[in-house]
């Protein structure tokens, strides 16, 4: 039989040193009697510790020391024995700790869980009281607390990291922890309960009483989290019985008191406020006015889920208008078109062919983002014909305002909106059709189509075809602008 006495402070470190020696020396779990300093020693004196066998090695999984440190703090009987047995089993069952169905593991985890709860409650329910007197620059606070287990060492770090610019002491029946001038110290000294007071407690009690909602009385829920054993050290706890007793009364009073007339100033204040719903609607004589009108659009149900209308953007006298499908996730959040992944893909190709996006007007066939929420993400959904038709109200007005010489339809939805036909895009791409607005429409794919390609090879091939399309467009735009320039010169400068 080996007898090991562990100290009150530094318990885990001592246990680890002894356990290592014993395990390496081949001591079985039943051969070790673990006691804590101050406990009555066993009937038999212990044998000298075994000498480690030369071939013995001791490996434990990374999670074991943390588990053991917590279990060592428990006052449950047999915890040191349990830990030692787990340690021995780990050498033949390295994956043991991941098996919560094992009785030893389950027991150790349950004990550790209680320790964590005890630690958590100590962090929560310690109440510092200001110590009046000598003014040394650092303010001084004192606290009395009775934890269930030997957790003082496990929580000391928390308090010293949090309260470092003041001096404090936390006194428990067995250990006194102090922080003085930034130096943390723990001593195992028995103490009797301290009776303390602090005038700030009156303010704290005021807060506690008023943050309580008497309409939601749930005393069981409170006691599950703040058991009565802690109440004696909590300045606010003395109020609890009164608050509970009075709750029903207060509710009755609220219910029975008749509604009052609003104070006089209410009407005066409300009168001054602009009503949120009644935004003034300027006439649609400029692009800005059109954009403002679009804001509250509810022509189709898409507005219900989207963040905002995403109007087109670009110069009012653009030669080229680019029409996409609808705003995506990014566009919906920022309120600007063509800034998400597809917009960036478009920009990259446009730059290569010398198409200046800043000089073009970009917009979408549908102005609200249509999506399906899936967990934390929004999955894009194509707008249907009815939504496209409703939103043509806005697209037609944008076209009428900007009067572009050429339109590009990016993908089926844009083609549908601009030509009335959204079918067979792959066959129609690269061609110019007469749009419903009487303006030529160049048809091509949507840049998102490039991003959807599964292989690098097909993405490269599709990007190349798209580049050719945009090159054609760039050439058309230059020709159109040269035309305009000639006609202006021919007509002479206007008055």
């Amino acid at each position: 039989m080996y007898r090991v006495e562990l100290p009150r402070l530094g318990t885990f470190d001592a246990w680890r040193n002894h356990a290592r020696t014993l395990a390496l020396g081949g001591a079985r779990a039943e051969e070790v009697e673990w006691t804590l300093e101050g406990e009555a020693p066993g009937l038999f004196g212990g044998a000298a510790p075994p000498t480690p066998r030369p071939d013995a090695v001791l490996n434990v999984p990374k999670s074991f020391p943390d588990l053991a440190r917590q279990v060592c703090a428990s006052r449950e009987p047999g915890v040191f024995f349990l830990l030692y047995r787990l340690l021995l089993r780990l050498s033949s069952e390295p994956r043991l700790l991941s098996n919560r169905a094992d009785a030893d593991v389950q027991r150790a985890e349950e004990i550790a869980k209680n320790i964590r709860r005890d630690m958590h409650k100590m962090k929560a329910f310690v109440r510092f009281r200001k110590v009046p007197g000598e003014n040394t620059g650092r303010r001084q606070f004192l606290s009395w607390f009775e934890p269930d287990h030997r957790i003082e060492e496990l929580v000391a770090g928390f308090f010293s990291r949090r309260f470092s610019d003041m001096d404090w002491a936390i006194v428990t029946p067995e250990v006194t922890t102090t922080l003085r001038n930034g130096v943390l110290e723990q001593r195992a000294i028995p103490s009797a309960p301290l009776s303390l007071e602090d005038e700030t407690e009156e303010l704290w009690r005021t807060y506690y009483a008023n943050i309580f909602n008497p309409a939601r009385l749930k005393t069981k829920a409170m006691q599950a989290e703040m058991p009565k054993k802690y109440w004696k050290n909590l300045p606010e706890a003395a109020l609890i019985p009164g608050l509970i007793a009075d709750a029903e009364n207060r509710m009755r009073q609220i219910q029975e008191s008749a509604p009052t007339l609003p104070p006089l100033r209410a009407e005066r204040i409300l009168h001054r406020l602009p009503e949120a719903s009644a935004e003034s609607t300027p006439p649609a004589d400029s692009l800005n006015a059109l954009t403002a009108q679009m804001k509250g659009c509810s022509l189709c149900p898409l507005y219900e889920n989207a963040t905002q209308v995403v109007p087109g953007a670009g110069p009012e006298d653009a030669t080229l208008m680019i029409v996409g499908e609808q705003p995506g996730d990014k566009e919906d959040l920022a309120g600007r078109p063509f800034i998400g992944p597809a917009g960036q893909a478009f920009d990259a190709v446009a730059r290569e062919v010398g198409l200046n996006r800043q000089a073009t007007y970009v917009t979408n066939a549908v102005k609200h983002f249509k999506f399906q929420p899936r967990g934390k993400r929004r999955i894009h959904q194509s707008p249907n014909t009815s939504e496209v038709n409703h939103c043509r109200w806005w697209l037609d007005r944008e076209i009428a305002q900007v009067k572009p010489k050429l339109l590009i339809a990016l993908g089926a939805t844009a083609a549908l909106a601009l030509t009335g036909n959204g079918k067979n895009i792959t066959r129609r791409r690269g061609t110019v059709e007469q749009g419903t607005a009487g303006i030529p429409v160049f048809i091509t794919v949507h840049p998102a189509f490039l991003l959807r390609q599964a292989s690098d090879a097909s993405r490269d091939a599709e990007t190349a075809r798209f580049r050719e399309d945009l090159r054609t467009v760039a050439a058309m735009v230059s020709a159109l602008e040269a035309d305009t320039a000639t006609s202006i010169t021919a007509d002479g400068p206007g008055q």
Partner: protein, 411 residues
Amino acid sequence: MGKMNLQQKLALLSDAAKYDASCASSGTTKRNSADGKGLGSTEGSGICHAYAPDGRCISLLKILMTNFCIYDCAYCVNRVSSNVERARFSVEEVVHLTTEFYRRNYIEGLFLSSGIIRSPDQTMSDMVRIARELRQTHNFRGYIHLKTIPDASPELIEEAGLLADRLSMNIELPTDAGIKTYAPEKNPDEIRRAMSNVRLRKEEAKETSHTGKRAPKFAPAGQSTQLIVGADGADDRTILQSSIRLYSSYKLKRVYYSAFSPIPDSTAKLPLIKPPLAREHRLYQADWLLRFYGFDAAEIAPDAGSGMLDLDIDPKLAWALANRGSFPVDVNTASRDLLLRVPGLGTKSVSRILAARRSGSLGYDDLRRLGALVKKAKPFISTRDWHPGRLTDTANLRARFAPPPEQLQLF
């Protein structure tokens, strides 16, 4: 009316703040004061320092800067047409309360909200000033949650996000129509746009600049909102659809549900009923299923039916009972996704099952040791030594779980 002292103001302005359910102080960056130059720390999970008799955790000093308000939201105790007494804290008073409470270990930090005074910008800038004072003058490193005024200017929201751990904007009513009726001065479009901006700003802060430097963290504990349950006619399906839209669109950390509870000097427009606490509880359970269990809003509150969650049994059990064809699930072979759908198995016990079954086939008692609620799971699982047989399909299965019907009163 004489001048109020600090204690009187605190009573009034904490009473006015208690209808906001949020109290979280978790999930922000890790900070501490080990350098001896500041006050406070945040270490991952927050701490509830007290519980009120309403069962709610008290983690933060939750107060209004002022309860003066120019808006007239029907459900709110601080609406302009209410006759409640009004008060306003000075910057110094809020700072004093926060730091003195913090030093005594009463709180994790401050949750500052406010009525709208004069203008949204004026209100927001006063709140930002308090946060700035705490962080910069007093080196306060605890948790700060700032209520954001949606119409405030972007520069103010920017500074708020750099000072605070969490920002929140309360939608309160799940539909735009509800907002129009009960909170006519609020603009739901503006709230959504403001939430978008916070999300975009947060994402921006995560990207490293070309110099490889990290931008300062923006609202590291994210943004949240609150929906009131039972004030307007919105059903649970509408509320959950609203939540899932908010989670997916603006990456909210939390949507809080707050059972509408009678307020002093209430308007005649709203019911003075007992707050629907059971309904609120079921909505929280459903919310968890949406976020951590892979459920879809349409599965939990299907289009067919009343649009309300079952108050007698939890939404996961209700789903399982309505979809018995998917059960029993073999705990020794089923995937995580399937296990997560079993009533009585939570995310933790599912992880433990997946880890433990590598060490050998699991039996019924093993599940109990793993922390599963076996009584609940029993009809829906099979193990090495248990098969529910026809139990899964028995007609009275629901009755095993639902509370017994209340006996009618004789009179």
